[in-house]
Each structure stands twice: as structure tokens, then as C-alpha cells.
Amino acid sequence: MQVKPRTKRRPVGLTSLIDVIFLLLLFFMLASSFTRYQSLDVSSGGRGGGADIKPAYLRIHASEKIDLNGVPMSKAEMAGRFATLTNKENMVIAIWSGPEANVQDVVDVMSAARQSGLKTVLVTGN
């Protein structure tokens, strides 16, 4: 029996592989985004609902003009002031914003209050 002599094959070229990988890389580099978004709940429950506790009242007049229950404070003092509120388990903070306040200020206040373990309610309209 005679064995057929095998012809020597050329190795598969790497160039086409690199081509495809480069294409994939380019696609993912251009198509992907790195911004991470997260959600902040602004639903603040339904209308009415007789609460038996009095909420703390926080007003945002402007970016650095905030008062809690009528006493002015700065954004840096927020965490300390929230910590002094009594009956924290049930305490709700009602946030009212003036015409000069913007969304970033409201989010700053809401996240600081949540971080202190308080519930927040955004006062909308009348």
C-alpha cells in the first residue's frame, strides 16, 4: 500500500484575524458610553394621605440659600443639621424650591437627606 505524500499547507495568515479584531475594537470604542446613570425617586406618594407627624420644612431659595424649618444653613451643614432632627424614623422632609433654585440644588438636598436616613417629599405646585 502506498501512502500518498502530503502536500505541505501554508499556515493561515494572521492579517485577516487582525483585520476583524480591529473592526470589532473600533466598533466598541465608538459605540460604547461610559456614563453611569442612577435613579432618584421623585414620586413622593399620592395626594392627601393624613400623616400624623409634622414634616420638617426645607426651602431652597437659591443655590446657597437654604433654610430648614426657617433656620438658614449652607449645603455643607446639611448633614449635621439633618442629624439633629428628632424622631428620625418617621421624619419626612418637605422640599420646596423657589424660582431661583435649579435641579442640581434639589438633587443635592434630596440625596443628602436620603443619606441621613430621612424620607423626602418634593412639594410641587399648589
Binding site: 479584531i21 461610559f34 435613579s39 421623585v42 435641579v103 442640581q104
Partner: protein, 132 residues
């Protein structure tokens, strides 16, 4: 003058290290990036110091710094957007709003009020992770 002759031919540059690096970059972009449609790209959502779960901005109601509302790139009214959401796949999920950080809070509250008037109370605001 006699030119010096090159005796040896330089060996061809090996492509294996190149492929290694490109592979690494490919894998990095595959895992670190997300290719979901980012509707909130045109605005800058407010920064948030809390570390909550991450969400996608796909399908959110976009409010630009002037208070105009958009769905994707087209301008819509709040009522039209709400009808679109109720008919779409994500009916029953919380409503997502992406507002620019420099927008007046009153304009955002107006939109929230409109949504509440339509009977929806599950509303979330999209924020960016990070501190100033």
C-alpha cells in the same frame, strides 16, 4: 566612497504583541462600556452623591435647560410622551425623567405635576454618579 552593505535582512516585525494589545483593548471596551442607547447624552443630568443601582436612560423624557421636553431627539409634549410610554414595552415600569442640572426646579416640578395629574406616581429622576 563605498557604501556599507547590509549583510543581514532585518526580521519582519512580529505581529503577535500587537494582537495581544488589541485583544486586551477589545475585551476592556466590551466589559467596561455599555452600548445601550443613551438618550440623555444631549443634556447633563445632575450629579448625585448616593450610590444607587444604575439604570439606562433609554426611553426617558428629556428636559433641556430651557424646559423643552424631548423623546429621543424629537420634541414632544408630556401628555404625548406618557401615551407613548403606556403603549410601549416598558408599560408598568417607573417613568424616567432626565432633566438638565441647570434647569430651574420649577420647570421640573411642572412636569412632575403634569405626570401626577395623569395619575402616575412612580417617577424617577435620572442622575449621574459622582461628586463635584
Amino acid at each position: 566612497m563605498r557604501m556599507r552593505q547590509q549583510h543581514k535582512r532585518e526580521p519582519a516585525e512580529s505581529t503577535i504583541p500587537l494582537i495581544n494589545v488589541v485583544f486586551l483593548m477589545l475585551i476592556f471596551f466590551l466589559f467596561a462600556g455599555s452600548i445601550a442607547k443613551d438618550d440623555a447624552r444631549q443634556i447633563e443630568p445632575p450629579l448625585n452623591i448616593l450610590e444607587d443601582e444604575t439604570i439606562r436612560s433609554t426611553g426617558a423624557l428629556i428636559i433641556d435647560p430651557e424646559g423643552k421636553t424631548f423623546s429621543g431627539k424629537t420634541e414632544v409634549t408630556v401628555v404625548d410622551w406618557l401615551a407613548e410610554q403606556d403603549a410601549g414595552e416598558e408599560a408598568g415600569e417607573p417613568l424616567k425623567i432626565a432633566a438638565d442640572g441647570t434647569l430651574k426646579a420649577d420647570a421640573l416640578e411642572k412636569v412632575i405635576q403634569d405626570l401626577k395629574a395623569a395619575g402616575r406616581t412612580d417617577i424617577v429622576l435620572i442622575t449621574r454618579r459622582g461628586s463635584k
